[in-house]
């Protein structure tokens, strides 16, 4: 498993340099742009899409076949991707939390937690939807689903009014409470993990 995570790290380091630069620019911009949701959410959106790009590279380089001959179970291969999602998402969440903390704390505590929970939900939900589709169909055939989800998430980040988010923590009847959002996303992510393992076990390589 450590070998698979190291491989993901090398791949991300090599292919995602532009991505890291974009994340940093958006994070800085989000601090000064007075709560523009797109700027706040974008780093997490692209981070959550990272494993999909890595899976495409795996197929392109025939790593998926080569790896199937190594002493890894298919569950481990899938799990490495999900753990990488969690680690990269957590890193972005922490950096975003610092950035938003500078902007909102100590006065806007409720808004801060609403944004963080939404970021967490976004970071978990994108991969939770896309990864099983890719493990079932392969990255080429899953590309349409990929674009639909990216489009939907970006549209959501644009549409969501800043006031609406700030009300998220204060109006739990109309908008689910931050904890509930996180819980649902985590459950979705766990179900997706199990489903991807099942799909990948049956996949021809």
């Amino acid at each position: 498993m450590k070998a698979l995570l190291l491989k993901e790290f090398y791949m991300a380091k090599s292919y995602m340099r532009v991505f890291v630069a974009m994340v940093l620019i958006f994070l800085f911009a989000s601090v000064w742009a007075n709560g523009n949701m797109f700027l706040i959410m974008y780093p997490m959106i692209i981070t959550s899409m990272l494993p999909m790009s890595l899976l495409s590279y795996d197929e392109k380089f025939h790593w998926d076949r080569y790896c199937a001959a190594m002493p890894f179970t298919r569950s481990q291969v899938v799990s490495a991707k999900y753990i990488f999602v969690l680690l990269s998402g957590l890193a972005i969440l922490l950096i975003s939390a610092v950035a938003q903390g500078i902007r909102l704390l100590p006065e806007g505590k409720e808004e801060f937690f609403s944004i963080i929970s939404l970021l967490l939900a976004m970071g978990l939900t994108g991969p939770a939807i896309l990864l099983p589709i890719i493990y079932k169909l392969g990255s080429e055939r899953a590309r349409i689903a990929y674009y639909i989800v990216i489009g939907a998430v970006c549209a959501l980040a644009f549409i969501l009014p800043y006031d609406g988010i700030s009300a998220a923590g204060a109006a739990p009847v109309s908008i689910p409470a931050p904890l509930l959002i996180c819980l649902i996303s985590a459950l979705l992510f766990a179900a997706s993990w199990l489903l991807s393992i099942q799909f990948y076990k049956k996949r021809s390589l």
């Binding site: 190291l6 090398y10 090599s14 590279y57 380089f61 199937a68 190594m70 002493p71 049956k202 021809s204």
Partner: protein
């Protein structure tokens, strides 16, 4: 013990059926899998490596059947596929770091020695390697975790004749240990003829023949004669033949060739081409 034991292996795709296939690779031996494009060599190898789900049959590797110590079997099996499979951003150092964590028996010193022997640069990225260099790196990795069984899909393709010869020598060295075995597929039949103890011919998903190489070479010969002379031989002793302006060139059992007839030794390539044309 057999390193590979395949019984009634079957796999069907639309327009292509593999098998039923029965194949034994005795431990300590090298078996060459020969077949034209689309004959089913890669499918067979992918089924052996459990990359594809088979439709029927059984496969035992290193004496272990389905689901028995799968991880140990993979530890003990070195694999080189037709597309080597490293991410293109990797250099040989990163390959070493990943493989060190992958295989319990990873031998870093052996890996470095193979890199030196194959003249592979340490810092260069895989994407900048030629096809031959990529293949050599794949072979270096396959040999560096001290496997007992090597499964190689077209490992000499893309290599120049000098390196091919070196690689063939390396594989011969590997099987000097009697517990080591190799299954190798290749289009380059001359390499297999040099290297293999057993030869298996695959044609359109069917196994035409699986025999000891020396037995095949001693059992058959090329006979040059007239059509009438060939027709006089028992049908089952003739593997195939073709007419030319000077008569007939045929492959026949050596013991069936008439005394004093114009015969010459046969190569594996000639035998394969004749058999495929007759099939």
């Amino acid at each position: 013990m057999n390193a590979i034991e395949i019984r009634q292996l079957r796999k069907s795709y639309p327009g292509f059926d593999l098998g039923p296939l029965d194949l034994d690779l005795p431990q300590g031996c090298i078996m060459g899998l020969i077949g034209e494009n689309g004959a089913g060599k890669t499918t067979t190898i992918r089924l052996i490596l459990d990359m594809l789900q088979r439709d029927g049959g059984s496969i035992r590797l290193l004496g272990r059947g389905d689901g028995e110590d799968v991880m140990l079997t993979r530890e003990e099996t070195g694999v080189v596929l037709d597309e080597v499979g490293f991410p293109e951003c990797f250099n040989t150092r990163q390959v070493n770091n990943v493989m060190r964590l992958t295989y319990k028996n990873w031998d870093e010193a052996a890996y470095r020695e193979y890199l030196r022997r194959f003249d592979l640069p340490e810092g260069k990225q895989f994407k900048d390697f030629s096809r031959g260099m990529k293949m050599k790196l794949g072979i270096a990795v396959a040999l560096s975790h001290r496997p007992k069984l090597l499964i190689l899909d077209e490992p000499t393709s893309g290599l120049d004749p000098v390196v091919r010869d070196e690689v063939v020598e390396l594989f011969s060295e590997f099987t000097r240990d009697e517990s080591h075995s190799i299954l190798i597929s290749s289009h380059i039949v001359s390499d297999l003829e040099k290297l293999c103890d057993y030869i298996a011919f695959l044609h359109k998903g069917r196994l035409l023949l699986c025999e000891e190489k020396d037995l095949l070479l001693s059992e058959y010969c090329i006979l040059r004669c007239t059509a009438a002379e060939l027709n006089a031989l028992p049908k089952k002793t003739v593997k195939g033949g073709k007419e030319n302006p000077y008569g007939v060139t045929a492959i026949v059992r050596r013991d069936a060739a008439p005394a004093g007839a114009n015969t010459s030794p046969i190569s594996i390539e000639e035998l394969f081409v004749f058999m495929v044309k007759e099939a």
